[in-house]
Subunit: 151 residues, 2 copies
Amino acid sequence: MVKPERTYSISELAREFKVTPRALRFYEDKGLLSPRREGLNRVYSVRDRARLQLILRGKRVGFPLSEIREILDLYDLGDGQRAQMATALKKYRARMVALEAQREDLVGAMEALQNGINWLEARLAEPASPASVSAARAFEREARRRMDGTG
Amino acid sequence: MVKPERTYSISELAREFKVTPRALRFYEDKGLLSPRREGLNRVYSVRDRARLQLILRGKRVGFPLSEIREILDLYDLGDGQRAQMATALKKYRARMVALEAQREDLVGAMEALQNGINWLEARLAEPASPASVSAARAFEREARRRMDGTG
DNA sequence: GCTGCCGTTGACGTGAACGTCAAGACCCGC
DNA sequence: GCGGGTCTTGACGTTCACGTCAACGGCAGC
């Protein structure tokens, strides 16, 4: 007896990942998902669920659905098409470079934000005494300079 | 004699950052930039340039323009409005949390991609000899399992 | 057999972020 | 004063990623 492997209805899956059923149908339209059918109704497998996870992660890191689709398609590449695998590899490497750049951006943004937080905390922590005010102003200038990120 | 500080025309700035003039005007419409005017013409200061840098970085990490605007506005907060500074601080912290989550996503995506690359490289490196094929299949299964990221 | 509830397929609407004209102002060299 | 280039302001078009609505099928409970 083969274990019947869990399946999901559209609204189940939608709830779990906090998307609407509409979104799931949309992804299907775009070829990102292709759940089984039982009559008309969509039946999502564990693998479909995993794909959805990849889709949503891709989205969160800024991939358009079209590119997510390409990537997902590559996962399903059969054996023997070495030419396609080679192009796939190129694309993967290009995306990797893009992701690295994005991580740099992200780290930069986080640093800038942390500076902003530090600055605000400092300004809020002190009462507006004359001495601390001038010190704060100096810090502020410095903080702004760093935040502007002229470099 | 005060140093006249470099300025930029719209197309200069556009070229430098590889955006169109239209985009810069659009950002102005949305209150993200407000360059000086000389007659009708826009004149961008060094500070405007820095703001643009922040805008584009914000975009690259996925902020909508509306939020970028909010953040930028906070940088220009004058003294004395402690209440606004407090709300600002809250928002900054919230964004920081979001950015951290995004970094995790990014790292996860990069790991998945790296697995994909490794897998493809391995499949491509070998000729299709029977022994290596089975080894490759085992690796493939493992790679796929990891890429699916069921956890 | 009627009411809900969940599902389906179109078709149209929406917000964000611009692109793409159109029509004209301004200045420069000749 | 005329072409050429750069700039301006509308106004409309476009793409992406869905949201929203209409109209309907199928099953469960009463």
